[in-house]
Symmetry: C2
Subunit: 527 residues, 2 copies
Amino acid sequence: MAKTLNPLGWGYVEDALADRERAAVLKVAGGWMGGRVQERRAPPAPEAVRLPASRIAIPDALRDCVDGAHAARLLHARGRSFRDLAELRGGELRQAPDAVATPRSRQELERVLAWAGERDYAVIPYGGGSSVVGGVNPEGVGDARGVITLSLRGLDRVLDVDTRSRTVHAEAGILGPDLDAALKPYGLAVRHFPQSYFHSTLGGWVATRGAGHFSTGLAKIEDRVQALGVTLPDGRRVETRRLPASSIGPDPNRLWCGSEGFLGVITDVHLRGVALPTSRVSCGIRFKTFEQALEGARAIVQAGIQPTQLRILDPVEHLLSRAFAGRAATGALMVLAFESAGAPVEPLFAAAQELARAQGGEVLKQDGEEAVGDWRNTFFRQPYIRDALLDHAIVSDTFETAVPWSAVPGFYHAVRDAALRAVQEVCGVGMVSCRSTHSYTDGLCLYFAFFGPGRHGALVDQWWQLKAAASEAVARHGGTLSHHHAMGRDHKRWAQAELPEAFRAAIRAAKRELDPQGLLNPGLWYE
Amino acid sequence: MAKTLNPLGWGYVEDALADRERAAVLKVAGGWMGGRVQERRAPPAPEAVRLPASRIAIPDALRDCVDGAHAARLLHARGRSFRDLAELRGGELRQAPDAVATPRSRQELERVLAWAGERDYAVIPYGGGSSVVGGVNPEGVGDARGVITLSLRGLDRVLDVDTRSRTVHAEAGILGPDLDAALKPYGLAVRHFPQSYFHSTLGGWVATRGAGHFSTGLAKIEDRVQALGVTLPDGRRVETRRLPASSIGPDPNRLWCGSEGFLGVITDVHLRGVALPTSRVSCGIRFKTFEQALEGARAIVQAGIQPTQLRILDPVEHLLSRAFAGRAATGALMVLAFESAGAPVEPLFAAAQELARAQGGEVLKQDGEEAVGDWRNTFFRQPYIRDALLDHAIVSDTFETAVPWSAVPGFYHAVRDAALRAVQEVCGVGMVSCRSTHSYTDGLCLYFAFFGPGRHGALVDQWWQLKAAASEAVARHGGTLSHHHAMGRDHKRWAQAELPEAFRAAIRAAKRELDPQGLLNPGLWYE
């Protein structure tokens, strides 16, 4: 039976924490916060959340695919960042889409866009709605006479599987699990696992330059896009050619990868798949310090070894991941995994372990599987845990970045310390943890998490203070404002400067050409 | 001692074929052409080649870095395609740069660009001059009042080596060997070997989205660009951030990768390097047919194995490569090599051989090293051989493309047959060979070569007939017009359609923003 999307929380209503899990989590979190945790305050009933009156009259011809009802408008009113959820729980939104369009064909999509163009309505392309950067929030849309949120979920078909080329051609609105399910009969898979895997779409991955786990050498989705299709507001089509590589012009695919919906509506993607793995080896490796573990990761990737997963938890993150399972931990943990559909990976696994040992790593025996398992079990649960903490006004969020290897460990310490100072200042007490989720030959992704006891009613302000402190620290020390969450609206103030001014001007010029009325996702960085 | 660039041929004068090598090559080639080979006609003396009078007066302030002499203008008048060389040998060029600027600093570069802007001179950025697609030819430059060829060879310094991140920051005009030499003391290397390695520049590689050999998973240069610096005609600077990955906006690096000099002058690049390999394993694998060999390659890369080199010669290419070494050959040859700086590659090498065997491959023993050696020896010699053949009016050229795996073998047969028909029609007799130079999980690069006996005085026309037939066949059957040579001027007629119309419009808009006067490399596809 289909599950129900939670209009005021992460994911599905049915998957929220059960009472027992909630109690365990709160016991652990509460312990760290020295009794400052506030009383539980349940979110309002969805139908009680007040939205501004819709300014839009839906034409009869579009009633099949445009919904102006409260439920649809609320469900699509925000992404799923901490501040989005805090705003939703506040019981009243100052901005919401005036209607939600869910076209089921390209023809319907064109009709929706033509209607929006005629009426001068802003159009916000929307995939799974799991943005944590304000990417789909109808904020800062200027003088548009209305806002249509354009859900791509009606375009979710697999159009073709090219088994010889190991590519899949699918519509942009397909969810991760549906894409994998369609590939499985062919012995293929996507193996692209963002934390939002169950709630994010192929098109969303591409539009935000997302990243996944368990994808050797292809962590970033833009490296897996063979071709794509885009519909422009005036109905023009862009269809790039299916090519493994080319030198004809700058790569057209790359203009739309990371375009966050403002250069056209990505309708379909030819994605590079992989053989469905038939075996996996993995282990946990403990290091005394995070710095040593990072050196181990650097040694592995720079030796030309590309593990399917190479993830490192700093001591706080390690402690947290195990504590939620009721266990203790010390030191940093490296999670090392290789998947294979036949190619020999045991020698590479052994060589990687050896390189880790040379940096002081201790390959865990019995205990290792448990440590890795604890991490895996919490990975997809974390956003649901966040909801449970939010009931008690606990502020918890993540921010992620990437830097060259030469920037660590200095960058790690500086950013962690800045975030910790901010949490202590805003919440009185709190924690900051860090993990490295992706390693490249020239650098790595660092993924920070922070939490502390907030106050009911003040959560959005508290979050902004923490977001600002974190973002300023990342920018000041040379990290990108996002390795795989995109800029959205939340990062705009700090991340815009990351893009050279002349590049921004060039993209603005491209935007005027592709979307002369400026209908698509106004309020983003290009403005 | 420094070698002398050949103004009318490939590479260095000192490296041209010696008499004995020339005689051997001609004997082989002549045998295939049934006595239709014309008499030897030596190229004219360089100083005797007539150029249009220069329209440019060089200001005193720029005399240090701008050269209006015949020798400089001739050397930079054309790239090094067959038709370029045939035109040069014709003794009179209708287009040549009016002067050649070789700034030795960014400040000098800015002064040159400012001068060009004031006078409305077209500016053609020029790296090593090894373009085989008319990318640096001053043709179709419209109503510019003069043409400056802008050599980047004066900007050839290594600015920094980040050994922890394995990246090198170098100016765009550095040649391949100089870059590797600078990295060697650090135990690093670029391992990017286009056939033009000795005569092409870092900036040229990036501007054309070139590809190299011996670079596992990083064959295309755009995948190795960590960051880059660009100077715009009005002096504005673009400097992208040094990041291993990011999701902030479309990737700015990718706008300039493949931009062929028309969106700004690439002045410097942060390039991802690799550890200098300490060991290599390689073998030759013979297959009865090219099709079987391609299936072997597909099996290897789709198993997740990335050999450092995976190259396949079709029976004709195999025959040719061995014939020039005085040996015979049958069937197709796969050249399989793994390099390592410590990581275990023997198990992967064995697994790749096993996958090849399953497709009918026979791993060669003694004979194998010889076969691989013959190929390697001719690789960098081929363009010099072309010069020797040209003395006898033998038309010889290559064209390369890429397609998804699902397109082969049909694509191979159709394009080869079309090229062969054209050669037979134009030259009476001739040969077409093919090699696969790069394999990806979703497709491959096919690199065709053709030759036949032409006629002195008619070579340019004959070449255009062959180029048109080959390009039409590639386009008709869905290949890219170039996997790694770029579009230049020669591919424009066919390749422009490869880029979606709206993308071309967006790039034109970006061009107007970055180069409002339209100074940079006019005549390319964006117009």
